[in-house]
């Protein structure tokens, strides 16, 4: 059996695969990530959207109108993703798919698609349902 070498963008070492099935699965994940990244770039152009963070285990894309807020937003959404599932299980609502947190003037939409975690930050007047539909479809 021939071992094939593939490198994953953003990873620090090459990974070896033994059959095509694993390669195609990894390619699919990469395609999903790339597709999401492109969609988020389009969403970023919408009036009122102030930034987004897209990340999975090996990659991250960030765009933010106020770069000084990246760390704060990243920490907040990380906590949301960490605790979503626990809260969902506590109250028996199935698997947590998305969360919306609203403050005085801004809100954040957090969605999980496979291994990808997407956080989009926007003014409260923006229709977050519309944005969520763009990502999911």
């Amino acid at each position: 059996m021939v071992k094939k070498k593939r490198s994953i963008p953003g990873s620090t070492s090459a990974m070896y695969f033994e059959d095509d099935a694993i390669i195609s699965s990894t390619d699919d994940e990469g395609k999903t990530y790339t597709s999401l990244a492109e969609t988020l770039k389009e969403i970023y152009e919408i009036d009122g959207v102030t930034g987004y963070i897209l990340r999975n285990q090996t990659n991250a894309n960030i765009d933010m109108q106020e770069p000084e807020k990246i760390t704060q937003y990243a920490l907040l959404t990380a906590k949301i993703f960490d605790n979503n599932q626990t809260i969902a299980q506590l109250f028996d609502i199935g698997d947590a798919e998305r969360a919306v947190i609203e403050g005085k003037n801004v809100k954040a939409l957090c969605i999980i698609i496979g291994d990808n975690k997407i956080s989009i930050f926007m003014e409260k007047t923006v229709d977050h349902e519309q944005i969520a539909n763009k990502i999911i479809h």
Binding site: K69, Q72, Y73, L75, L76, A78, K79, I80, D82, N83, N84, T86, I87, A88, L90, F91, D92, I93, G94, D95, A96, E97, R98, A99, V100, I101, E102, G103, K104, N105, V106, K107, A108
Partner: protein, 276 residues
């Protein structure tokens, strides 16, 4: 916590579940996690675990300025949390719930009831002004503090010897009537620094303004702070300076007073203005 809140919130929750039967769990809690009212189906254990998750999230939510709502959508239902003043209402429901009614309840009715309860306890004379702690539903705030291993320093006798409270005189024909001073509950934060006066605490300006309104412009230069262990102190006060504490039910207390009252960071205390 006043029994007004306890009774009002329990009734509210029960009625909400009647109006929206798809609501499976509902409870109302105070932001500093010291009090809650819940429906019969929700267990204390669930609420406690929820508090751990919620406090983890809100500890990083300063970038949003003031948390108003938080919604988690799952495959089979959703959990909605809406926050008003110092309280938050949490409800879990299936997607079969009428969206309009549910939204009206969570974003309009419940916040209105919370504001009304706040107003009643602040602006009206209560028959029983002694604080009522609903100890059956009150978690030990120690469980959620970051510095659980903080050791308490010995009490300072000088602070203990200070006069505790100015007696409130019974109104007579020749004396102007003094309104019943409102009692507020806060969570303790330590304040330190070279410029910090050791006999002055810091409170939200909104609270100070509220006292002035209730007391019809009477001068208030001191407050009585009372710990849960019953120890009291008479202190001067100033408005909070640090914006991150505004509107969060926080009181900043110098270390000397904390030691005298055997207080730790994160504990709850009662504060009552001394009307002169």
């Amino acid at each position: 916590m006043s029994q007004v809140y306890s009774a009002a919130f329990k009734s509210t929750i029960d009625e909400i579940k009647k109006v929206v039967p798809q609501v499976s769990n509902a409870f109302i809690f105070e932001r500093n996690l010291g009090f809650f009212a819940k429906d019969d189906k929700t267990s204390e254990e669930s609420v406690k675990k929820f508090f751990e998750c919620f406090s983890t999230i809100t500890s990083k939510a300063d970038c949003l300025e003031e948390l108003e709502t938080f919604t988690i959508q799952g495959t089979d239902g959703q959990v909605n949390i809406s926050c008003t003043n110092n309280f938050c209402f949490a409800a879990a429901s299936s997607y079969e719930a009428d969206e309009k009614i549910f939204k009206t309840v969570t974003t309009v009715l419940v916040p209105t009831i919370i504001r009304l309860a706040d107003q009643i306890t602040q602006n009206f004379n209560l028959q029983d002004s002694t604080p009522q702690f609903n100890t059956a539903n009150k978690f030990d705030i120690e469980d959620f503090r970051e510095d659980k291993n903080e050791t308490l320093q010995p009490a300072i006798q000088q602070q203990l010897d200070e006069p505790v409270a100015q007696p409130i005189t019974t109104p007579t024909v020749n004396e102007p009537y003094l309104p019943e001073p409102p009692i507020n509950q806060f969570m303790v934060e330590k304040v330190s620094g070279l410029m910090v006066s050791s006999d002055t605490i810091r409170i939200d300006k909104e609270t100070i303004d509220g006292w002035s309104n209730v007391c019809n412009g009477k001068e208030i230069s001191k407050v009585i702070i009372e710990a849960l262990n019953g120890k009291k102190a008479n202190c001067k006060f100033k408005p909070l300076k640090d914006q991150k504490y505004f509107g969060k039910g926080i009181i900043q207390i110098p270390e000397k007073i904390m030691d005298a009252l055997e207080l730790s960071k994160g504990e709850l205390i009662l504060v009552k203005p001394v009307i002169e």
